[in-house]
Structure formats: C-alpha cells, structure tokens
Symmetry: C2
Subunit: 202 residues, 2 copies
C-alpha cells in the first residue's frame, strides 16, 4: 500500500521541482531536499540565488547559440578566436565538451538538436538558416560538422552539407576511429571498419 | 588532456552548486543546468523560489524534529494523532517513509542520526535528552524504537532503551522478518534467522 504523503506544501513543491532534474527521481529528490535543508546557508540559499541569476542573465548568443551573459557571447566576441572556421554542433553541451578538450580555436554554431522525422523536428526547427548566412561571409573558409555520430546526427550532417554546397567554404567532419585509450576488443564493427578505412601512415 | 572549461561565472557557480546535490556529479550537473535553462519559466524560476521559500520557512519542530513551516509541526499539533505513542526514528526521511505507509497514527521523535564511534557521534549530538523528557510525561505509554536495522542503528536502539528504563513506558521495536513480496532465496542469513525465531501461528 503506497500512499502519497504530504510533507507540507512548500516542501512538496520543492521535491516535485527537484524530481524534474535529469538524474533525480522522486526518491533522490526527497534525499536532495533533506540535504539542502541541512545545508541552508552553504548550498540552499546560494543555489536559489544562482538559479535566479542564470535565469535572468544567461541567454543564447544570437550569432552562435552558445549560452552566455553577453550577446554576442565571449567566444564570438573574442579576438583570439579563428574567425575563418565554424564548428557546427548539436547542443551547448557539445560546445562545452570541445572547449574542455581545448583543441579548437575557431567559432561555433549550435543548431539546437537533430533532424528527426519521428520527433517531428524539421530543418525550420533548427538554427540552420543562420548557419548558411554566416557561411556566406567572406571571412569563413571552413565549416566543420561535428554533430553526434548517431543516425539522426549523421542525417543532419548530410542535410547541412547539402544546404552549404552553394557557399564558398570547405566542409569537413570529425574523424571516426578508435577512441584514445580504447581497446579494440570492446569496439563495435562500425567503428573498427571506419578506423581501418581511414588508416594513416605511421 | 582534460581542461576545466569556464562556461561564464554565473553558469559555473550554478553547475558547481548543482553538483553538490546527492545523485548528481559534475556531468549530470551540467546536463541539469542546460535543461533548466531550456525550461526557465516552468522549472528554473519556480525552483529558485521554492528553494528560497523552504530555506526561509521550513525548520525542525522543536518537539519532535520533523521539518515543517509551523512549530510545533502539523503532526505534533494534530488532535487526530495518538499522543500515547512515540516512534523514534533516525532521520526525517524515515518519518516520511512511515507516513507514506500510513500505518502509524502516533507521534514521532527524530534523533537525527546514530551513535557512531568512527564518525565521532556521541549521545550529546543526538536528540536523545529531549526524547527522555517527552517519555517522562504521563500521557506517553509506549516508545517504539524504529532506528535502521544497521549495526549503528541497533547500537543506538540499545542505548536509547537503556536510557529510557527509568521512564514508565513500554519500549518496543520494529519486527525483523521477511519483507513483504521478498523471496527467501535472496534474503541474508540474519533476516531468515530472525524471521524463523519470530515465527507466529498461522
């Protein structure tokens, strides 16, 4: 017999909202709420403030789609970045991953998802038109398509390549192959085939 | 090569605070932050408000230790509860679990943890003194000790029993046995032994 208990409306509301975070279910939301109450000054109040601050001040960059307090964002606005290369990614999380790797010094373009017939996501739902506009600028020489290596990601990559063919830019994509530190035994056939086909002189 | 990227100080701060929630690490905190930004009005701002509200208004009940906006809490204050029985639990989460089961109509007493020599938790760190004070009242006839069935929980149960022996109350504890819906094959020896020893006529 499971009955939904009431912990008081404020707490109920908090637990319900916490359980909407990815990775937290109802049980872990309750644990989180209790832990927050135990650490009111060190975590709970600062978290409340941080949420309000970010909700107020952080918005997508109108040029590239990155999230920042300024528009254009600090990457689009930086003089240290290579203006001739645009890397196309699905999501801001992918931009963060590339920035963490620190291997790319160009600009980004977040398209905001993938084409998906099942989910009813068409080209107009993604920021592809603005990408073409940017690619038409004289300064841009290369567009690197770094969508995920999933079926939807690759479909989107092909669509973007097609739309960019009238722009005077080189279109490249990330290499497929063996992940650094990966063991061959654990890799799928597709990755191994791609790694073999793209083998390079030692 | 892993470099800590900066996502802008507001976002960094939010991600850092989110990663302190139980069940969220740095990666899931980043995912949570991105999802929150996508749902600013439906989740992010309400969550900020809920956190501030709970931090401001929810406090432990000075009688039983339950968390509520009122003091005494709605359980201590309710006329429908059985004032003659006090159930001793470790944590507010345990109180919530018992309330969800809906099988107990008495009052609670949250001691706030267990005795633990390793973690340096002694009797003075728990709300045991206030429990004894409550148990001395004429109205109280039974104290049910419902600490967890762990070593520390049982040690604490024995200590509390010892301290309550001068109070004129019956001291009981939760039954050990086969969990409802549980399979014998998966149970540990201790539980099976307890279930056998406490067998009851059919």
């Amino acid at each position: 017999m499971y009955r939904k208990a009431s912990y008081g409306s404020e707490l109920d509301q908090l637990i319900q909202l916490l359980s909407k975070l990815p990775g937290l279910g109802p049980r872990s939301a309750r644990r989180a709420a209790l832990q927050l109450i135990k650490r009111k000054d060190s975590v709970m109040r600062p978290l409340s403030t941080a949420l309000a601050e970010v909700a107020e001040h952080v918005n997508p960059c109108t040029t590239c789609g990155n999230l920042d307090t300024t528009d254009p964002c600090h990457i689009c606005d930086s003089e240290k970045r290579d203006m001739s290369t645009i890397c196309v990614i699905e999501d801001v999380a992918d931009l963060w991953a590339l920035e963490r790797a620190g291997a790319f010094r160009g600009l980004y373009h977040v398209i905001g998802g993938t084409l998906s017939a099942l989910d009813g996501v068409g080209p107009d739902d993604l920021n592809i038109f603005t990408l073409i506009e940017r690619a038409l600028a004289d300064s841009v020489q290369e567009v690197i398509i770094a969508t995920n290596a999933t079926v939807d990601g690759q479909t989107t990559a092909h669509y973007i390549t097609d739309r960019l063919k009238d722009c005077d830019v080189a279109i490249t994509r990330l290499a497929h192959g063996v992940p650094v530190g990966g063991e061959l035994d654990y890799l799928d056939d597709g990755t191994l085939t791609a790694a073999l086909n793209s083998r390079r002189p030692f």
